[in-house]
């Protein structure tokens, strides 16, 4: 910040110049307009990159979905054995399984949204029959779909009897929710294999299947869920970075003006001469010793 103006021969007792006075000079106003314009351009480019991040993220998401939907279903025991760790890469894998639903074990997973509406997921244990001795008799949690209410007695939820062959997308187990008993009977707030193991008995798969089709078919009043995707923001990270960088550049422009303004104040005050920084610019500074 400016010191007391030196009373040198070339700078005869200039008045102290304030930041505000300098800021109002045509030069600084012109520069301000220029820098603000630059900042605005940077901001606009940043917004454009944000938009691109969204568009490209959505496109990538759509492509992932298309890939997931195009898969041929494989028997679940071929990709994941019961009681073994669920690999994140299995999310969205299309599988098929044969067995029988256990109507008594069906639960409503409450407070779940589909297309912006809150309702419940229908979670039904499937006792799998398989040639694979590991999988035979194991329980696969199946999300049969979504319903609007949260009444486990809804006739819509009647469980198909007899052998059923189903296809679905794999999804990883959720964390445990409230303890059973804390919620209404027949409902739960999470799809947690660890928790379901205690309710349904084992062995159990560590993920669950999101139903896409079953033979015989179930009541179509139960809405099928879209394929699960691995969690992500759906934004393209590269464009997101570019957007942030443009905003930083915009900030630079504003900072530069402040910097130039401060320099200008110093120059006006005669505190220094940026054109000749090596010249002794304060010959008359009172506290300075005379040059030899």
């Amino acid at each position: 910040m400016p010191e007391t103006p030196p009373a040198g021969p070339e700078t005869p007792a200039r008045p102290r110049v304030t930041l505000w006075q300098v800021a109002r000079t045509p030069r600084m106003i012109g520069l301000l307009v220029l820098f603000l314009a630059a900042a605005a351009v940077c901001g606009r480019l940043g917004a454009w990159q944000l938009e691109r991040a969204e568009v490209r993220g959505a496109a990538a998401q759509a492509q992932r979905l298309a890939e997931i939907e195009a898969q041929e279903p494989v028997p679940i025991e071929d990709v994941l054995a019961p009681q073994s760790t669920f690999d994140g890469a299995l999310v969205g894998r299309r599988v098929e399984a044969t067995g029988e639903y256990e109507a008594g074990g069906q639960l409503l997973v409450v407070d779940r949204a589909l297309d912006g509406r809150t309702g419940s997921l229908v979670l039904t244990p499937l006792r799998v029959t398989s040639d694979d001795p590991d999988a035979d008799g194991a329980v696969l949690p199946v999300v049969r779909g979504w319903v609007a209410g949260d009444d486990p007695g809804d006739p819509l939820l009647a469980v198909p009897e007899g052998p059923v062959t189903l296809t679905g997308y794999l999804q990883g187990s959720e964390d445990s929710g409230e303890l059973h008993g804390a919620l209404d009977p027949g409902t739960t707030d999470s799809i947690s294999s660890a928790e379901l193991l205690g309710v349904w008995g084992g062995p159990i798969w560590t993920g669950y299947a999101v139903l896409t089709g079953a033979e015989p078919t179930q009541d179509d009043g139960i809405a099928l869920l879209p394929p699960p995707t691995r969690s992500g923001t759906g934004l393209n990270i590269q464009n997101l970075g570019y957007a942030a960088q443009w905003f930083v550049f915009g900030g630079f422009a504003v900072f530069l003006w402040v910097r130039l303004l401060k320099d200008e104040v110093l120059r006006e005050s005669g505190a220094f001469d940026p054109e000749q920084p090596d010249a002794p610019e304060q010959p008359g500074a009172p506290e300075r010793p005379a040059a030899p």
Binding site: P2, A59, V248, F252, F255, D263, F272, P277, D278, R288
Partner: protein, 132 residues
């Protein structure tokens, strides 16, 4: 202010403007970033040529060229350039250079090889001014 009495008269830098304060450190940081940015930019150019011109890794399902060395290069270069700009502004600010010089230095980070050339010039000038 009284400390300035101890200063050598040949180095007339009174306590007024903070010009050149810490300039040496800033010069060093600028030098490092000029090299890093320049190198990264060359790698990025290589990636661009391989990806868009040579199609070294073919096209994806949508008909767009696939990255060859990786998308991370563009992402990393972007952030390195931001850091480079910070060092540029800091040095420029300390050296009290003109606005044109700032623009040139900023530009040098996005024009291949320019950062290496300009860095030599800037370094020489700054060292001379700082009295080596």
């Amino acid at each position: 202010m009284t400390e300035s009495q101890q200063q050598q008269p040949t180095a007339p830098r009174p306590a007024g403007p903070p010009a050149l304060e810490g300039a040496r450190g800033r010069l060093g940081r600028y030098r490092v970033m000029a090299f890093v940015t320049g190198t990264m930019l060359l790698v990025l150019c290589l990636e661009m040529v391989l990806k868009y011109v040579v199609h070294a890794n073919g096209l994806d399902a949508a008909g767009d060229p696939r990255p060859v060395l990786g998308t991370w290069i563009a992402i990393v270069h972007g952030w390195i350039y931001v850091v480079y700009l910070v060092t540029v502004v800091q040095l420029w600010s300390a050296m009290r250079w003109s606005l044109g010089r700032l623009v040139t230095m900023a530009l040098a980070g996005v024009v291949p090889v320019m950062s290496f050339v300009l860095e030599r010039k800037v370094h020489a000038e700054a060292t001379a001014r700082l009295g080596a």
